[in-house]
């Protein structure tokens, strides 16, 4: 197998690869646009996944949209796009608009929720979603569904008791859960070595007797391969897996962060030279699937789409103040199935 056969071995078609590349470009462009909106004072806050697109797209491609429970965390722009959320929907959340399908403007942006796509509701407290994923898997098993639960989180989340308790339960009951850590080296300013006594998040899997895989998170195909394998195990009743995608966050933690206080330009530059998008673009060019020129054209097109989506979202209506009290509890008249 030469290096340009990798996607074939994985059963990915050329159109799959083009879609993956498109998703990575789109997520990047979207996140970058959000920073511009913050600087323009149009939104109060943003958080992005720039640099982590390979990890996110690789993982999402291995899931069944609308079937599997997906519990992404706040950096997973590319994940939700891959599952079917539109650019405009993400921007509606960015602006906190009334018809933001995630939360109707109640949550910070990137706090996902899309029941129709089985994208679970994401809150801010770190790691609380891990037990939720276990619960989704439990529900799926009990209902006789084939669904698995995929949940992502950062390297910081691994320190929390929730991580331990969730993996422990999932392992005891061999539940179909994929625990997917996007190890981007930092939890805000705190470097991984102050978060973890072991060099790899995947080393933690031994405590639960489950597979622990470390994968190059900037290699979209490698991530896809690892998650697909874990999904196979999950669907075959072989229980949970822990996957660590080693990657890097290019931008500050959020729009409230100044990352120059805790990491050097050199460090950032070194990681940027491993940009997962460039890398995947290189692979596509090498395979003759997308020439550099076609890639550049695609990037332009994506930027235009992103800009248009942002513009449309900006013009969408704001939430009505008097709706602030709705849905603290069920409303009988809301017509929703309880």
């Amino acid at each position: 197998m030469t290096s340009i056969d990798r996607h074939k071995t994985l059963g990915l078609s050329e159109s799959d690869l083009r879609r993956m590349y498109y998703l990575m470009l789109a997520a990047r462009a979207l996140d970058e646009r959000a920073w511009v909106l913050v600087r323009q004072g149009k939104i109060a806050f943003t958080v992005g996944g720039e640099g982590q697109e390979a990890a996110q797209v690789g993982a999402a491609m291995a899931l069944k949209p609308g079937v599997d429970w997906v519990l992404p965390y706040y950096r997973d722009t590319a994940v939700v796009l891959a599952l079917g959320m539109t650019l405009e929907e993400v921007f509606l959340a960015e602006f906190g608009k009334a018809n933001d399908p995630n939360s109707g403007g109640r949550q910070m942006s990137k706090h996902w929720s899309r029941p129709e796509l089985r994208i679970f509701s994401c809150s801010s407290p770190v790691a609380t979603q891990l037990p939720h994923a276990v619960g989704c898997a439990l529900a799926a098993r009990l209902s006789g569904e084939e669904a698995l639960a995929w949940v992502s989180f950062g390297d910081g989340a691994v320190s929390k008791g929730d991580f331990h308790e969730a993996l422990n339960f999932a392992a005891i009951y061999r539940l179909p859960v994929i625990f997917f850590c996007e190890n981007n080296q930092y939890a805000i300013s705190t470097p991984f070595r102050l978060q973890s006594p072991v060099p790899r998040v995947a080393d933690r899997a031994a405590a639960y007797g489950i597979p622990g895989i470390t994968v190059d998170g900037n290699d979209v195909l490698a991530v896809y391969e690892a998650v697909r394998a874990a999904a196979g195990r999950a669907r075959a009743g072989e229980g949970p897996s822990l996957i660590e995608a080693v990657t890097y966050r290019f931008a500050p933690h959020t729009s409230n962060d100044n990352d120059r206080l805790y990491r050097s330009e050199e460090e950032i530059a070194a990681w940027k030279s491993k940009d997962p998008i460039k890398r995947f673009g290189g692979y596509l060019a090498e395979c003759g699937i997308l020439s550099p020129e076609a890639g550049a054209e695609l990037a332009r097109q994506v930027h235009a789409e992103v800009a248009a989506a942002a513009r449309r979202a900006l013009l969408a209506p704001e939430p009505l103040p008097e709706t602030a009290g709705r849905f603290v509890y069920a409303e009988p008249e809301s017509g929703r199935e309880h």
Binding site: H132, A133, A149, R336
Partner: protein, 329 residues
């Protein structure tokens, strides 16, 4: 109509609802094989099997967290926290997750979850500082959560069915001293009691006592004693602590002009402050006396030694004294 005590009623009602609704699962520490340390889930494992009745690992935070995920994904989990004193590791999942899920997803997800837990002092039971606590005061400020605390087998069945069918998270508090001590007739047919509705357990004209759980029974007993002194006490059983039945409370207080709120929890920060404030806000000009509170002093509940415990835990005597004082106004 069967006569059952409260813990039997819990087990019986769970069984009946589990037969009717296959989405209900019961999960907690020691709830399956032995049917719970108080036997509140007795018999469920043998009827419903280990898929629906789960002996969970010792980890309250994920116990609730897993139930939140399962509830959002279509099940109707009933979590048992073995003692209310051990609920704190799960606060994050209860407050930040279960209670906010519907709101934050703009009605996209919801969390039909029941958290059952025995609370309160079992007098002389030797439970000490970590098997006697009341926690309701801490949760009554959590929007998105409902809290019920029945005091009779009849109300236990009706409220437990209501909780199990409620589309939102319900904290279901069972006073452990009532588990075996309080028995009563429980209709065989299914019925619900609306969450948020209090109940006048004894009518009276002179003053209103508002209580729940074990204190309800102490209040009723004290009211009988006062009746001999021709003091006619109305006893309101809150039953639901969130939402509060302000309407019934105020109707009673407007009638009697005097109110006493009783709970076993510490005075400061207990739910009594909220109730007293509501009464003042809504019935100020009907009040002939300040709203009184009978509660434990601000001391950790409850020291082990019976000599200390009795000193700390408010009982019928304290209630009676306060009621007489209030009547004299």
């Amino acid at each position: 109509m069967a006569v059952r005590n409260i813990v039997e009623t819990v087990a019986h009602t769970l069984r009946e609802e589990m037969r009717r609704d296959s989405r209900i699962i019961v999960i907690g520490e020691d709830v399956a094989k032995i049917g719970g340390v108080f036997q509140a889930t007795k018999g469920l494992l043998s009827e419903f099997g280990p898929e629906r009745v789960i002996d969970a690992p010792l980890a309250e935070s994920s116990l609730v967290g897993i139930a939140v995920g399962a509830a959002a994904a279509g099940l109707r989990p009933v979590v048992e926290i073995q003692f209310a004193d051990f609920i704190y590791p799960a606060m994050d999942q209860i407050i930040n997750e279960a209670a906010r899920l519907r709101y934050r997803s703009n009605n996209g997800y919801h969390c039909p979850l029941v958290i059952r837990t025995p609370y309160g002092v079992a007098p002389g039971g030797g439970g000490g500082l970590y098997h006697n606590q009341s926690v309701e005061g801490m949760f009554c400020g959590v929007p998105g959560l409902k809290i019920v605390a029945p005091a009779t087998p009849y109300d236990t069945k009706g409220l437990l069915i209501a909780a199990l069918r409620d589309p939102d998270p319900v904290l279901f508090l069972e006073h452990k001293a009532t588990y075996r001590a309080v028995s009563g007739e429980v209709p065989d047919e299914e019925y619900t009691i609306a969450i948020g509705k209090a109940d006048v357990k004894r009518e009276g004209r002179d003053l209103t006592v508002i209580a729940y759980g074990l204190m309800l029974h102490q209040a009723l007993a004290a009211a009988e004693k006062l009746a001999k002194s021709h003091i006619d006490v109305e006893v309101v059983d809150l039953r639901s602590l969130k939402p509060l039945d302000k309407e019934l409370i105020c109707r009673s207080v407007r009638k009697t002009g005097k109110a006493l709120v009783a709970h076993e929890d510490c005075l400061s920060g207990g739910i009594g402050g909220e109730i007293a404030a509501v009464i003042m806000e809504e019935c100020f000009f009907h009040l002939d006396a300040p709203v009184m509170r009978v509660a434990a002093p601000d001391i950790p509940l409850a020291p082990y030694s019976r000599h200390l415990e009795e000193h700390v835990v408010p009982g019928r005597a304290a209630l009676e004294k306060a009621m007489r004082e209030l009547a004299r106004f």
